[in-house]
């Protein structure tokens, strides 16, 4: 059956993984989404509820893909609560992807921002030396540490977890650890995804050391296709020109780190 790219294709949830008390991963079979590039996202329809943009999570089995959802408002909570055997609709993938560099690589992720980074890990070369920084509030909310180690099993690598309350790993915020790291060691590229304030800091830090850095952004998405305009950040459309942007560009974009548009298109502060 031919797939209509921009129309939801229904997929059945085959497995639900509890990552933390507020985060779950839903696994399903889909050839198209199992093969997306790191940074690409899908529009996910929760029938009768809403449709949300979601980074496509890796699932390490051919033909399968996943979404990792943190429950927040009504829509994400409904998606979080989807059971095995139930259907959701997916369309896409949309957006561009991280530019894959080689050498000493640093990935800095917070919360579900780790999702595109996990996929990025599967694209790295054997010789890359990879450092993954995982930021979390508290021990209970740490996830993907094991997965990162698993994907990187054959690489020289390091997975560092930070918790703000110090209940696990290094105490503090992820950007403090990053600051130290880039002072100690030369990195060839930094990739980040997570809360925009965090990404802003990551981009600033990396740029101050002249390290190539890319961030994957979130904005209000309605179409995902590049026609409705709701996802704009200055002159860029995040769903089409992004979600991944070079740090160099982002620092020139006065909205990055500060403001985003709400559903009606009004600019609000972060």
């Amino acid at each position: 059956m031919q797939r209509d790219f921009d129309k939801p294709t229904m997929v059945k949830i085959e497995k639900v993984i509890e990552e933390t008390p507020t985060v779950r991963t839903l696994v399903f079979s889909d050839d198209v989404l199992s093969a997306v590039l790191p940074g690409q996202f899908a529009m996910v329809w929760i029938p009768g509820v809403n449709e949300l943009p979601m980074s496509v999570m890796v699932y390490l089995e051919k033909g399968r893909a996943a979404f990792t959802i943190r429950k927040r408002g009504v829509a994400s909570t409904s998606l979080y609560e989807v059971k095995v055997g139930e259907y959701i609709g997916v369309r896409g993938p949309y957006g561009n992807s991280f530019a894959i560099r080689q050498g000493n690589l640093l990935l800095v992720g917070g919360g579900t921002g780790l999702v595109p980074l996990m996929r990025l890990l599967t694209f790295l070369k054997k010789n890359d030396n990879v450092t993954v920084l995982i930021g979390s509030n508290t021990k209970k909310e740490v996830f993907f540490e094991k997965m990162a180690n698993q994907i990187l099993a054959n690489n020289k690598h390091q997975v560092i977890v930070t918790t703000e309350d110090g209940s696990y790993g290094t105490a503090g915020v992820v950007t403090d650890v990053m600051e130290k790291l880039i002072f100690e060691k030369k990195f060839d590229a930094v990739y980040t995804c997570g809360p925009e304030k965090m990404m802003y800091k990551v981009v600033q830090l990396a740029s101050s050391k002249k390290i190539f850095v890319q961030a994957s952004l979130e904005r209000m998405m309605k179409c995902g296709i590049g026609i409705c305009g709701s996802c704009c950040i200055k002159e860029e459309l995040v769903c089409h020109d992004g979600t991944v942007f070079d740090g160099k560009y982002l620092l020139s974009n006065k909205e990055f780190g500060y403001t985003h548009r709400n559903k009606s298109g009004i600019i609000e502060n972060y």
């Binding site: 209509d4 790219f5 921009d6 129309k7 939801p8 229904m10 529009m43 329809w45 029938p47 009768g48 509820v49 809403n50 449709e51 949300l52 259907y87 609709g89 369309r91 309605k222 179409c223 995902g224 296709i225 590049g226 026609i227 409705c228 305009g229 709701s230 704009c232 200055k234 002159e235 459309l237 089409h240 548009r261 709400n262 559903k263 009606s264 298109g265 009004i266």
Partner: protein, 302 residues
Amino acid sequence: MKPDIYTQVGSIRLERPTMLASGILGISLDVFARLYQAGAGALVTKSLSKEPWEGYVNPTVIGVEAGYLNAVGLSNPGAPYFAKMISSNKTIPIIVSLVGSVEEDFTFMIKQFEDAKILGYELNLSCPHVEKVGLEVGDDPELVKKIVKSVKSKSKVPVIAKVGLGSSDYLDTVQAACEAGIDAITAINTLRAMAIDVETARPILSNKIGGLSGPAIKPIAVRCVYEISSKFNIPIIGCGGISDWKDAIEFIFAGSSAVQIGSVIGEKWIGVFSEINDGISKYMEKKRFSKISEMVGIAKRF
């Protein structure tokens, strides 16, 4: 000598005949500047209302065969906010699209743009999926006449009416607008349509019914332009499913003085403006047309 592709829509002069259609990428001045750079001859804003509207819950846009179905619900930041946003504009040819139910709505909104540098207004009389505005206004020729008269009396810039196929004869709407002194007509808006998911039996759009756009509606839009231009002596802007320069020429032959580009951006991205402009220019050269106006409506002579 390369032909000049400027065009004249009534008193509105456009450097290039390809405009951005309303609701397409149209909420930010920065995006407008980019699209103008990319070749758009004018930028029609997202339809604005008196107050900010969030629009409908997602799904609001989905793909269907040869087009899109959307029920965005006219989400927009509201005329006052938008007017402030574009107050710094000096060079970009912006046409402000307005949507409302009664004269007073429009009066209020026009007031906001009094000091703005804009090319004109486009009255959205044809949104097919929001109650009490759009088509519900367009389907009532008397109300159209009232609104157009009032807007015309207040506006310092030309006023365009955008029509679509509703539940009455759209030609009556055109006639009412013409009688009330409208400066041009844009035809057409999306067509009421819907898609149902086979797995869940649910309408896919949260609003259930939305508007169909894209190549699917092109032959219907061409017909409307041809009919309007056959019956009325009014400048027309063609819109609906235009994907390449041939489509643009088809609309011009049917009677449009300019065209609006919408859905195709989802497929070809914004390079489509210069692609179409170049195509029109090359075609004119080959066929020895020196002005767009020489081509407008010539299909009618057959």
